[in-house]
């Protein structure tokens, strides 16, 4: 019988389109536990016995928390083809702590303005100000998490470092955000975001990007995401090995596989939701396998590709607030919702 390898991840990461090949090659069977939010994940790990999860996928922000809490094993950088990564991703913040590697970024994506192409043009959507448009009243949705939404407003307010703002800047973000409240038609989780964009319930969406609209687009929905002129945010997913894993060796093998060029190309086209990949060689494989998707996502050698956008400074990492507490942001978000 195949060896069982447990994976705690967002939905999709242990589905056959991604893992089947690896499973067959290594006589492994993934047993996934899919979570629906980073906090949810942390809660689950913290209350489960050590060693429950062999492989853990988490957003970059949470990796630090996992690491500090000692929920993940140290990784050996030499085990992985980090040198194939774009330079920006080789020393990815949060993956390293005191010079030690604890997780490895595997995919990322941009968050901008998601919109319904029947209702808005790309030009309309190219500024966060579109959310305040009169004809979108009640038709703007929020992905229900403070971090991407407030980050976007911070960008709109001209903060070059959207998560590192002083009290005045924070107050400005709050005021600006509050002024958006009457426009809002709802606060949605992943599934709700999907359906309300798909059926036109919401015409514009804050706090998401291609990882939602890309899937919908593939299914023929008239939605797209654009990084507006004020800039976009970047989310990143990283793999770690769970503390106390009995199958650390196999887990390492998996991370090697998924961060390899071949694995990366697969990952970019993940059926559940598409994403960008940090492995340059992976780009090449993708280009060869599925040039259309490579083009759609902007992972080509052409100018203006996603790395160029990063290099041009148009993209900021999504991260925990620096000068305020996470609670301050979250509390404000709750108040905003309740307003």
């Amino acid at each position: 019988a195949p060896v069982e390898l447990t994976m705690l991840a967002w939905y999709g990461h242990a589905e056959p389109d991604i893992v089947a090949e690896f499973e067959a090659e290594n006589n492994v069977k993934f047993v996934p536990k899919y979570y629906t939010g980073g906090d949810n994940m942390l809660g689950l790990i913290s209350q489960s016995p050590a060693g429950t999860y062999d492989v853990i996928l988490s957003d970059a922000e949470y990796v630090q928390a996992l690491n500090e809490a000692g929920y993940v094993e140290e990784l050996d950088p030499n085990d992985y083809a980090i040198s194939d990564y774009f330079p920006e991703f080789q020393q990815f913040p949060g993956n390293w702590s005191d010079g030690k590697l604890f997780s490895l970024v595997t995919r990322f994506g941009f968050l901008g303005v998601a919109y319904n192409t029947d209702a808005l043009t790309e030009a309309d959507a190219s500024t966060y100000n579109v959310y305040w448009e009169e004809n979108l009243k009640g038709k703007v949705g929020h992905f229900d998490w403070h971090l991407p939404n407030l980050g976007q407003i911070s960008l709109l307010n001209g903060n070059s470092n959207p998560y590192d703002i002083d009290d005045a800047g924070w107050q400005g973000v709050q005021d600006k955000t509050m002024s958006l409240r009457p426009q809002i038609g709802g606060f949605f989780d992943y599934g709700g975001t999907f359906s309300s964009l798909n059926d036109g319930q919401m015409l514009a969406f804050a706090g998401i990007g291609d990882w939602i609209t890309g899937v919908l687009e593939k299914n023929g929905a008239k939605v797209r995401s654009v990084v507006p002129e004020e800039g976009g945010l970047q989310w990143s997913e990283c793999f770690s090995i769970g503390k106390g894993s009995q199958k650390a060796e196999l887990a390492k093998k998996w991370i090697q596989y998924i961060t390899s060029a071949k694995g990366q190309a697969k990952s970019a086209q993940m059926a559940a939701y598409p994403a960008l990949i940090p492995n340059q060689k992976g780009w090449e494989v993708l280009q060869a396998e599925n040039p259309a998707e490579a083009k759609r996502q902007g992972m080509t050698k052409d100018a203006g590709n996603v790395i160029d956008m990063i290099r041009a400074g148009r993209i900021k990492y999504r991260q925990w607030p620096v000068q305020q507490g996470l609670e301050d942001w979250n509390d404000f978000w709750s108040e905003y919702k309740g307003a």
Binding site: T6, W10, Y11, G12, V31, P32, K33, Y34, T36, G43, L44, Q47, S48, P49, T52, D189, Y190, G191, F194, S195, N198, D199, L216, N219, A221, A272
Partner: protein, 278 residues
Amino acid sequence: MSDSSANMNRSRLVDLSLKIYIILGFAFVFAPIAASFVFSFNSDRFPSIPLGHFSLEWYEAVASDPFAWQGLRNTLFVGVIVGIVSTGLGFGAAYTDFRYRFFGKQIYLALALLPPTIPVVILGLAMLAYLSRINLSGNSLSVIIAHVVICAPFAMAIIRLRLSQMDPDLEAAAWNLGASEWAAMRHVIIPFTKPAILGALFITMAVSFDEFAIAWFVSGLNETLPVKVLGFLQGQVSPRINAIGTFVFVTSMTLVILAQILLTGRSAKVRPVADEQE
């Protein structure tokens, strides 16, 4: 019973309106179930009107997902055991309330009825925290434990209601006729409460079949089907929801209809059967 009431005391119009009202009630209850059924055969991933074409794709997706099968097995296993255990516990509590008066009874009853009042998200975490500390987390057993906690009160309520309809002299009469407490239990209390016991068994099973929030936390990697459905809903919006829903629905319906037919058949010729019993 209903036709013994004299006809001049009934109004056809009122009776008809009420019957239509019953149908409207059922329409409300069944609309989402029916829609789910229809959309489970719809090719589009995101349900919308007009429909796409007929497709079994979502059933195939579910059927080929070993975790869905594993989930179904877990659900059934958990549900049946939860049904039996919580009906047993609930029966005991209902009988205790019916029969005994003792110091601290209020507290006892509070314990027996409180769990459904705890928000499930919180109860889930609290359960997980506690169960993992006593090494009972992350498997079907932990789901059973947690589900019995919230299901037993339902069983207790249903059975207690039935007991309150019993002539209190009945049990005493049985004792008086030489039945020990145990015999009276077996020959009087249980026969009298049998409909409620069956009801409780079904309802608690159903509650367990449908519970996802607590199960998400405590089931660990041994997920039940509702937890999977939650994953589909929160994580990807897939008509597999409908496919699973319809599949589970049809399966359990078949079982319930069978039970119903068996029970009806029994009661129709209750006497001959009763003659044979023991």
